[in-house]
């Protein structure tokens, strides 16, 4: 039968031929799985732990308690009442009263309308099931034995909630105006800061790329300075400038710097370099022919600007917008220092966890904060994927021509922006050196005696350097090796695209959220990795994961420039891929590797949000010390420590510059051929 059914002109499908996996392939895939596992453990699992925490609630379970009440002579008749029955009878607590936090307590005297603490009536109470808990005063009772109390002591009875799961945390979040107002506040300041920063950065980048003004190199350097300091440092400078004892207080016309104004100015400062870098890249490439066409069509410069320049830079502008928006909405240090009564989401997380020990609510706010962050990130990725090459082989690079008037305007503009950046840093340095602002303006180094302040003293500074070095070395190795495996492995498509997705995720996760998720995941006693909690290791892992995405993208870009033929040649010469990796790929990509390491170093020095929940007394960090000293009111020492971070990062940058020049001369000579 089957023979007849087979159409004669096609061959029967033979067995699928699978190339045998070589040892190399196995190593590569193994490596990729190891790094994917790393991302799973350091990112996906903690986030999952956090999500489940946000649904972990505390509920008073009245059915767990039994009561007896005596007559006036103190004699019990043996009738037993459960809490549920009592509540059904008296209706004192409705469902929302029975939802609580881990710290909640519930009084029981309201169940007995005739209760008076002077009455001779006695009461008995017990837990009817294992796991029930109640207090008399602050003494805990968790056994099933009956406890007899006189009226005066019975009023001290407090029930304790039991753990359950549900959405009641979210319900209570959205029914507390003080909390969900923060959503509005966060979105508002992020939107305002984004508009201001992107506009400022656009014209600054325009001046640097499209004019012939002088001192471009200096301006470029200054624009990058804010990246070298923690985001909360501009807040400290603003206190000295516009606080009640501020040097320029009059400029605010009575408005207070503590609040949205301060957050916006500070956000503009710390996000400026990010926006500038992205827009500058977009403006740097442009086709001169379009401008020639515009001129020959007698378009006004204004019209040319809107029809040629802006559309050409639109992807950069969109990207900058979302990056800045994300940075502002997830930033925690700045609103904490200068936010005053203006609540934002990131600070709410801190307040819930550190102030109230309400971890569940902290997790809820985190989930809320992740939503706008992921949205902004997703939109950015979608827009980026639509981008097409602006430059073709026939393009003529645009070269600006001198124009005395506009060049002068741009010079003035750029100088003002530069003054803003340098000014804030200079104020911090000045504040750090003044003995006792504003009463004793003599200079001294008193504020550098960190050992007398909160925050861990000089030890925290050296811890920070250790963290930065470890992050740079370990992070660069993991990231670059991971990117190499993804980029150069053959086949295994599902694994590779999954890996790519994991690598992009950290960008969308705010640092605060990551830090909190790490508490939930690594501090759980049942986690075999529990031992790294409170060590330098967890700080390094957290920081590497937090800054994974940008490093990964840098590595991928560099690797894409290398032809895949290298791998083909190596395998035809029977050379192991790892040898190729060490002898060819790494040396060729050295500039990118150095860039990744300095990026990780600088960010590890300045990061606050991701590590604020994770440092231990032995691993205090300089950036956290800035926060804690400011918190304790030692603002001048906080400024001093902030500037130490700045100088360290600046020195690292300079070192990086010389190192890359030296190494590049040796390894990159082939490029100049």
């Amino acid at each position: 039968m089957s023979v007849l059914d087979t159409t004669p002109d096609t061959m029967p499908a033979g067995p699928e031929i699978k190339p045998k996996l070589s040892r190399d392939d196995i190593i590569m895939r193994g490596g990729m799985i190891v790094i994917a596992l790393y991302l799973l453990i350091t990112l996906a699992f903690p986030l999952w732990a956090m999500l489940s925490k946000s649904f972990s609630t505390y509920q008073f379970d009245l059915s767990q308690y039994e009561f007896q009440i005596s007559d006036d002579a103190g004699v019990f008749d043996g009738a037993i009442l459960t809490g549920t029955e009592l509540n059904a009878r008296t209706k004192v607590y409705d469902t929302s009263d029975l939802a609580g936090s881990s710290d909640s307590r519930l009084g029981v005297t309201k169940f007995f309308p005739d209760f008076s603490f002077r009455s001779p009536v006695h009461y008995k109470i017990r837990n009817s099931v294992e796991g029930g808990r109640f207090l008399v005063g602050s003494k805990l009772y968790n056994t099933l034995d009956w406890l007899e109390l006189d009226s005066n002591n019975f009023r001290r009875v407090q029930l304790r909630p039991v753990k359950s799961t549900g959405i009641s945390n979210f319900v209570s979040y959205f029914s507390t105006p003080a909390l969900f107002n923060s959503i509005k506040n966060s979105l508002l300041i992020a939107a305002i800061s984004t508009v201001i920063t992107v506009s400022l950065a656009f014209w600054f980048a325009y001046a640097l790329n499209r004019s012939c003004m002088r001192f471009k190199g200096v301006f470029r350097l200054i624009a990058m300075m804010p990246i070298l300091v923690p985001s909360l440092l501009p807040g400290i400078a603003l206190v000295y400038l516009f606080g009640n004892q501020g040097m320029l207080k009059g400029l605010l016309f009575g408005a207070s710097i503590y609040g949205p104004i301060g957050i916006v100015i500070g956000s503009v400062f710390f996000t400026f370099p990010h926006a500038f870098l992205i827009i500058s890249t977009a403006l740097a490439i442009s086709d001169s022919r379009l401008y020639e066409a515009a001129t020959s069509l007698r378009s006004t410069p204004w019209r040319t600007f809107w029809t040629v320049t802006v559309p050409g830079a639109r992807y950069g502008l969109i990207s900058a917008t979302f990056v800045v928006f994300n940075l502002v909405i997830t930033d925690f240090g700045l609103p904490k220092v200068i936010g005053g009564q203006f609540n934002v989401l990131a600070v709410d997380i801190y307040k819930q966890v550190i102030g109230q020990q309400n971890f569940e609510m902290g997790a809820v706010v985190s989930v809320v904060l992740v939503i706008p962050a992921i949205l902004a990130f997703a939109i950015d990725r979608i827009v980026q994927s639509k981008q097409v090459a602006l430059l073709s082989a026939r393009s003529v690079p645009y070269a600006p021509s001198p124009n005395t008037r506009t060049d002068r305007i741009f010079l003035v503009y750029s100088s003002l922006v530069a003054l803003f950046i340098v000014g804030l840093l200079a104020v911090c340095q000045f504040a750090a050196l003044v003995k006792f602002w504003p009463y004793d303006l003599s200079l001294s180094l008193n504020n550098y005696q960190f050992d007398k302040m909160d925050g861990g003293g000089w030890g925290s500074y050296f811890n920070s350097i250790e963290l930065a070095l470890l992050t740079a070395v370990i992070g660069t190795s993991v990231v670059f090796f991971g990117a190499y495996l993804v980029e150069k492995t053959n086949g295994f498509r599902v694994g590779r695209s999954l890996f790519q997705m994991f690598a992009m995720l950290p960008m969308a996760i705010p640092g605060m959220v990551l830090g909190l998720a790490y508490i939930f995941f690594f501090n759980s006693p049942s986690n075999p990795l529990n031992f790294i909690y409170g060590t330098m290791a967890i700080l390094v892992i957290c920081t590497v994961t937090h800054f994974y995405t940008v490093s990964h993208l840098t590595a991928v870009t560099a690797l894409k420039q290398m032809d895949r033929e290298f791998e083909a040649v190596a395998s035809s010469l029977k050379q192991p891929t790892m040898k190729l990796f060490a002898r060819v790929t790494v040396p060729v990509c050295l500039p990118a590797i150095l860039d990744i390491s300095i990026y990780l170093f600088v960010n590890a020095m300045t990061t606050v949000s991701a590590v604020v929940f994770l440092y231990s007394p032995k691993t205090t960090l300089a950036s956290i010390a800035v926060l804690n000293m400011d918190d304790a009111g030692d603002i001048a020492p906080a400024a001093a420590m902030g500037m130490m971070i700045f100088y360290t990062n600046a020195a690292a940058r300079i070192l990086h510059l010389f190192a890359s020049k030296g190494i590049l001369k040796r390894t990159q000579a082939w490029r100049t051929r």
């Binding site: 003080a178 207070s256 609040g259 005053g340 006792f436």
Partner: protein, 339 residues
């Protein structure tokens, strides 16, 4: 894998066993005492207990409390030496403290010892709320010094007062709980409603209002006396005012963590913490200590502070903490911006 772990464990055990017999016990002690005082405390303790080595884990009150609660099922601490009594009550209600009556505890002021027998915790010293008043800035703004809490609600002080947020600061909470105790539940909230109108902002930490007052950033900071005295000694133009209605306070206390493997050493620590010499040691920073008759006046401390301390009901404070904070947050936290 399993064998490796067993091997490592036995290796670790043999290392421990091989150590000299007179090996010192290591005691992990959680504390919120100021960093600069810790070394002094440990040295003094080692004079009488040379064989016990203290490993300090120090952070601010809120963070140490959060840490202890987070480690509820897997405690890392052996003992606590110097943490707010309200925090210790929270831990006690979780069943995390091991009751123990230190030798000589009967000599202490009853106010400073847990009511249970044996007590779950014993007090060391008290920190007391006060108002830091910057005379220079107040004069510039044309203010008269307040003498009572009620004075602070005078419209004259609008925007000139800073106090700590009770949601993040222990000092802020002791202020709020003392007002609720002094003025009654209703009166207390009414008072805070009025005070709220004058508050420039709420800070995260309890010492910051006084430091801000010392720096002239604000004329009046609601803080604690110890901080004010320190800033005054540093040369700030401060006056430390004790409001006439009475002031809230909290105490630093010590306790043994239930389930510790070093119970004996932890008991020795508690025995030491109630001695006269230990109390003399606390006295260098704190004007009020648990051992009667020990305290010598501390420089720059305001007069009449001791008499002004209210009869603080710690049980009330601890058991109503969650409810008070929730109420406070809904009244003042977001509302101040919605205006």
């Amino acid at each position: 894998m399993k064998y490796t772990r067993t091997f490592l464990a036995s290796l670790a055990a043999s290392v421990l066993l091989a150590a000299p017999v007179a090996a010192e016990t290591e005691l992990t002690v959680y504390t919120a005492v100021e960093a600069e005082d810790l070394k002094r405390y440990a040295e003094k303790f080692n004079e009488s207990n040379p064989d016990i080595k203290i490993n300090w884990v120090r952070d601010s009150t809120g963070i140490i409390t959060a840490k202890l609660l987070a480690e509820r099922d897997n405690p890392q601490a052996d003992a606590i030496w110097g943490l707010a009594a309200t925090s210790l009550l929270l831990l006690k209600s979780e069943g995390m403290l091991e009751p123990y009556a230190p030798a000589g505890v009967d000599k202490l002021d009853k106010k400073f010892v847990d009511g249970d027998n044996p007590p779950a915790w014993v007090g060391m010293d008290a920190w007391v709320a006060s108002v830091c008043y910057n005379t220079v800035e107040a004069e510039k703004a044309g203010l008269k010094p307040p003498t009572s809490w009620k004075d602070l609600t005078d419209p004259m002080y609008a925007g000139h007062v800073i106090m700590p947020n009770p949601n993040s600061s222990g000092t802020g909470f002791l202020d709020v709980s003392s007002w609720l105790q002094m003025f009654g539940e209703e009166g207390g909230w009414e008072y805070m409603d009025a005070l709220h109108e004058n508050i420039a902002r709420y800070t995260h930490s309890g010492s910051k209002p006084c430091k801000l007052a010392a720096a002239g950033e604000i004329p009046i900071g609601v803080s604690f006396a110890f901080r004010g005295a320190k800033s005054k000694a540093a040369g700030a133009p401060l006056e430390i005012i004790v409001p006439s209605e009475g002031v809230g306070w909290d105490m630093e206390a010590s306790a043994i963590v239930a389930g510790t493997a070093n119970a004996e050493a932890a008991q020795k620590l508690l025995d030491f913490s109630v001695t006269k010499e230990a109390n003399e040691m606390y006295n260098t920073g704190y004007a009020v200590v648990a051992y009667p008759g020990v305290a010598k006046p501390v420089e720059h401390f305001p007069e009449g502070l001791l008499d002004a301390m209210i009869d603080n009901d710690f049980e009330f404070a601890a058991n109503n903490r969650a409810a008070i904070l929730k109420e406070w947050q809904s009244r003042y936290d977001g509302k101040s911006e919605a205006k």
